[in-house]
Amino acid sequence: MSSNEPSVAMIEQTAGKRAARAAARRRARGSHRGFGPDRRPGPVGYVFLIAAVLISAYPLYFAFLLATSNAAEIAKHPIPSLLPKGELVDNITRVVNSGIDLRGAFINSLIVSGVVSVSVVFFSTLAGYAFSKLRFRGRDGLLTFVIATMAVPAQLGVVPLFIVMARLGWTGQLIAVIVPAMVSAFGVFWMTQYIRDALPYELIEAARVDGASMFRTFWSVALPAARPAASMLALFTFVGSWTNFFWPFIVLGAKNPTLPVALQLLQASYFKDYSLIMAGVVVATVPLLILFVFAGRQLVSGIMQGAVKG
C-alpha cells in the first residue's frame, strides 16, 4: 500500500464519518493488505464453506430422511425428497421390537462411555498432576515412556488381549471393553501439559502448609484447577468410546452389544429394510449430536488447543 495515502482518521476529519468507514472497509478488502485472520473472505470462500458444511451435514440428514420413510418408498425413489415423512416413531418402535436389543445396546453404550470417561479423566488428572508438579525419581523417563506408547497401534495386541479376556471369563461382558480403555496415554499427556501451566506451585504449598495430605491436596487444589482440560478430555473420551467398534465387536459379540455392534447386527439381519436400519442409525447418533450442539464449541477449541499445545 502506498504510504502517501491518507489515514482513516484524516479522511474522517476531511470527508466525514461515512467516507472514513468506507475507506476502512476498502483497506480491509485490499488484496495484498490483510492476510490470515484480517483477510476478508470473498464470495468464493463462503461458497466453498457452505459446500463443505452441506457435505458434512447431508449424509446425516439423508439417514434421517430414510428413517422417517418406509421400505417401499425407499426402494422406489433412490433420491429421497428433501422433507421428512412421518414414520420415524413407527420405525424406531420397530427397531426396538426387532430381535436386536437396541435398548440394551443403548444402555450398554451409556455405561461404557460414562465409566470410561470418568475413569480416564480421573486417572489422567492424577498422573498428570504427579508428572507436572511432584518430584520423584525417574519422572522424565516414565513420562517419555507414556508418550511413546501413543505411537503403538492399538489393534496389534487384539489377539492376545482376547486370550487374556477369555481366560478371565470376561468375553461378552462390558468389563472387557471398559478395563483396557480405563487409562489413556493421550489423557495423561494432555493433563500433564495443562496442569503444568494452570496450577501454580504456591497453591500446592499453601495446601501442604495447611496440613493437607498429598491426596487431599490433589483432590481440593489440583482437581478443581484442571477442570477445563478435564471436561475437554471427558468429551473426547466419550465420543471416542461411543463410536468405537473394533474391540467391542470382537470381545462382546452379539450377546451383549454396544450401539455400533448392534448397528452391525441390525444391518446384517435387516439388509433390505433401510428404514429400519436408518432408524437404528438415528438412535445411535442423536445422543452425540445433542452433545455436539451443546459442547461443539469446546470440541473445536479442544482440537485446536491440542494441535497447538501437543
Partner: protein, 363 residues
Amino acid sequence: MTPAATPLKASREPAPNPPTRTQRRGSMSRRDKLGRLDFVVSPYLYIAPFFVVFAITGLYPLLYTAWVSFHKWHLIGGDQGFTGVDNYVNVLQQPNFWIALRNTFSIFLLSSVPQIILAILIAYVLHTNLRAKTFWRMGVLLPYVVAPVAVSIIFSKLFADQSGMVNAILGQVGIGPIGWHASAFWSHIAIANMVNFRWTGYNALIILAAMQAIPRELYEAATVDGAGRMRQFWSVTIPQLRSTIMFVVINSTIGGLQIFDEPRMFDTMGNGGADNQWLTLTMYLYQLGWGPQKSFGRASAVAWILFLIILLFASLSFLLTRRIASSGTDPARSGRRRRPRRAQHRTAARRAGNSRVQEGALS
C-alpha cells in the same frame, strides 16, 4: 510454620504436615512418618494406574502377540506347539494376504491424499475474518461425532449399486451406473469417501490452529518483498505448516493402514466382497482369528507384519513429507529463526506429542 523451631531437614523438603509434633518430641512421630511416606510414595501411586492397566492390556498383549505368532494356536484349543516361522510363511503364501495388502494401500492413499489437500484448503478459508466463525468450524467438525459404523451404513446406501442415490444422480447426468461394490477400484473410492467424510474437518481444524500460530511478520515481510497471495501461500504458509502436516500424515498412516470399520460395514456380509475387492489387512486378521480357520497364530503373524508395515510407512511418510514441505523453504527458514520463543516452543510441543488424531482413529 515457625522457622526457628523447625528442624533444618524438614524445612528443606516441604513436609506434608506441619512438623509441630516433631518439634515437641524431638523424634519422628508416627503421624510424621506416615506423612513422609505419603510424600515419597504418592507420586508413584498416582501414576501407577496408567502403568498397571497399560502393562496388562497394552504391553503384555503386544509381546504376547509375538509369542503366539510363533505357535500353532487355535481360538478354542489354545496353544498346540511351537512352529517357528510357519505362520509367517503360510500367511505370505496366501493370495488373500496380498490382495488385502493392495486394498489397504489403495484405500489409504485414496483417503489420505485428497483428505489432507482438502483439509488445508478448508483451513485456509476458515483462517479469514469470517462471520460466524464458530458455526463454520462446528459445521465441518460435525461428522466427527458420528460413529464410523453409522457413516458406513449411510454411505453404503448412498453408494448402493442399483438403488443408490449417487448412481441415480449420475444416471440423470447421463453417466451409467458405477459398480461401487463390484469393482475393486470403485469400492475403494466409496470407502475412502467414508474416511474422508469423518476426518477432513477434524484435520482442517488442526491445520487451522497451526496456521494461526504462524507469525504475522512473515506475511508482512513477504508482502514487502512483493509476493502475491498465491506466492505467500506456497512460500510462507505451507512451509510453516510443515510439522503439523507431517503429524497429520503420520497419524492418517497409522490409522489408515489399520482400517476395519468402514470396509467391514460396506456390505452386509462383512467379508470384503465376493472377490475380496475391499478386504483389508485388519479384516484379514479378523478372518484368520475369528473366521472359519480360528488360527490365532496366523492372525498374530498378520498383526506383526502389519505393525512392521506401519512402522516402515510412518517413517517413510515422515521423510517424504519433510521433503515436500521443505522444498522452497529458504525464505521461511530465515523467518523461522526470527520466530518468538513461545512460538518455537509450541511447534516443538506439537511435534513431540499430538496423538490426537490417532487417539480418535483408534479408539
